[in-house]
């Protein structure tokens, strides 16, 4: 068992909207403890008014992402031991999104952009048609598979400085979604996918900083997906002559 007397120094963002400040709490250290456990302990044992968000606790729902010591992480699968700096922890709401209260960021812009990037599936067959067979080793399917484990946690979106500088930019998650659709045999209008990511906030704004790929908790690679979109749209640019 752990040394019960050991305490963690945890500063947590408190506030609504644009205003707020970090507040420090002493939290008992445990042998096995995630950042989400720490936040929950504060809410349950120190200050019940602390607002934060989680659901599954096992890295599937994507609702628990926060800034931990300046880096976006899924808190339910982040062990305190791995991120502790001199016995201290700083937890804040996700970057690049408006704050609702305390640690809960407003995810609306993130999902709005997901939709703007064409993230909604538009079926090419109706229920009366036979089900389309997709061979698992089809190259397009292999490429699409690389991106489908996205849990919409917005860690990549918070990590990206291009999002920070350019509010129109769709961001890594939405663009990676567009890339999987582009490679999906069941999507008929590929050009429509490319068109929705070729406007003013589209994939061409990416500066290949690679923070998305570096911090994705599911080890996906939005950087390469966006490069794929750039390549595909450049090809169609030459084909169509515009």
């Amino acid at each position: 068992m752990s040394d019960r007397s050991k305490l963690l120094e945890v500063s947590v963002w408190r506030g609504t909207g644009d205003e707020g400040a970090y507040e420090t709490f002493q939290v008992p250290a445990r042998d096995n403890q995630t950042v989400l456990d720490v936040v929950s302990w504060i809410q349950q044992s120190a200050d019940p008014s602390l607002t934060y968000r989680y659901a599954c606790r096992v890295g599937m729902c994507g609702s628990c992402a926060m800034m931990v010591n300046g880096v976006p992480r899924w808190t339910c699968r982040t062990h305190v031991k791995r991120v502790l700096r001199d016995g201290a922890l700083q937890v804040g709401p996700l970057r690049n999104l408006p704050v609702i209260k305390d640690l809960a960021a407003d995810m609306d812009p993130f999902f709005d952009k997901w939709i703007r990037a064409g993230g909604v599936h538009r079926p090419s067959r109706s229920r009366n048609d036979p089900i389309q067979q997709v061979p698992p080793d089809d190259p397009g399917r292999v490429e699409a598979n690389k991106g489908i484990e996205c849990i919409n946690c917005s860690v990549c979106y918070a990590a990206c400085d291009t999002v920070a500088g350019n509010p129109d930019y769709l961001g890594p998650a939405a663009l990676q979604r567009a890339w999987t659709l582009y490679n999906d045999a069941k999507v008929e209008d590929r050009q429509a996918v490319l068109d929705s990511v070729s406007g003013a906030g589209g994939c061409h704004n990416c500066h290949s900083q690679g923070s998305c790929t570096r911090f994705c908790p599911n080890e996906l690679d939005p950087l390469s997906a966006i490069a794929g979109l750039k390549r595909a749209s450049a090809r169609s640019f030459f084909r169509r002559g515009e």
């Binding site: 010591n69 300046g70 880096v71 976006p72 970057r95 918070a158 990590a159 400085d161 500066h207 290949s208 900083q209 690679g210 923070s211 570096r214 911090f215 950087l223 490069a227 794929g228 750039k230 390549r231 450049a234």
Partner: protein
């Protein structure tokens, strides 16, 4: 200035280097163009200006400019490869390493020759 934690990795630093070198080159260009066009209007002041090149400070600045150009050039090649060549990460590393190697060897040769 401390680097923010989410920026502390090689690709982000490469991005910043590319941006800063590009910005510096873009600011330098008008000066460069202006000085050269002196050849047309006032050749004697261009000569006086070029005479400055023996000054060690100016030498250093010259080196800085060539360095910026080289940095932006290789950073640009890296981006073009990243965006337009559907290679695996390993292939890209190998390609970058061989280009850097070739540059090192030819650079060393040049220093010998000059």
């Amino acid at each position: 200035m401390m680097l923010k934690a989410h920026r502390n990795h090689p690709l982000w630093l490469a991005y910043m280097l590319h941006r800063l070198s590009g910005l510096a080159l873009a600011l330098f260009l008008p000066v460069h163009f202006h000085v050269l066009s002196l050849a047309l209007t006032r050749p004697e002041s261009l000569d006086r200006f070029l005479g400055l090149a023996d000054n060690p400070g100016v030498k250093l600045a010259e080196f800085g400019l060539v360095f910026l150009l080289a940095v932006h050039f290789f950073g640009g090649l890296r981006l073009l490869a990243l965006e337009f060549l559907p290679w695996s990460a390993r292939q890209k590393t190998l390609a970058a390493a061989s280009i850097a190697g070739a540059f090192l060897i030819s650079g060393a040769f040049l220093l010998q020759a000059v």
